[in-house]
Symmetry: C2
């Protein structure tokens, strides 16, 4: 699997609208044939910190995600709410094996 891990810090006061926009992106992304997971997490110790755990079957599937209307709408909506640039790290999965995802 091709896994993109994104850490996000939101400007104070924009947490709720960030959550709403990201829920819509979650729902849209989960309909993509190449997407396996799109988990949205909130940090326990920092209300402005969020994490996206995005699992795709391949790097090409992630590239396709970045062309979807729901991703582009999310990207535009959240741009002004970022407290700092998002930190995205790309991975390949070791365990579980792909068939077990």
């Amino acid at each position: 699997m091709y896994v993109v891990c994104v850490t996000i810090w939101v400007k104070p006061g924009h947490e709720e609208e960030f959550r709403r926009a990201t829920e819509a992106n979650h729902r849209g992304t989960r309909t993509e044939p190449g997407n396996v997971r799109f988990d949205v997490l909130a940090a326990v110790d920092d209300p402005a910190r969020f994490f996206l755990y995005e699992v795709y079957r391949s790097a090409e599937d992630f590239a396709a995600h970045q062309r979807t209307p729901h991703y582009l709408a999310w990207k535009a909506a959240v741009a002004d709410w970022m407290a700092q640039p998002r930190q995205g790290v790309k991975h390949t999965s070791l365990w579980p094996v792909d068939e077990s995802f």
Copy 2:
């Protein structure tokens, strides 16, 4: 869900033994009743960088994990291979809802 995200940097030359030790920890953790996922990832751009995505039903289940023989064996095995302290961030999940994990 209670989700622990751990970023790990391994000293050069210890990547393979780190992978073997972590596969054993993955297998043991997945047998815990309170564990939902234990994904082990390798960064695409840095062969020494790894990521653990650990999903538990509750904070108490994570505390129980930290008392298991497989976790304690892993912790002791990898201690000397860390290039810097591990970075663990604790989260609660927003989406999907718990029943869909």
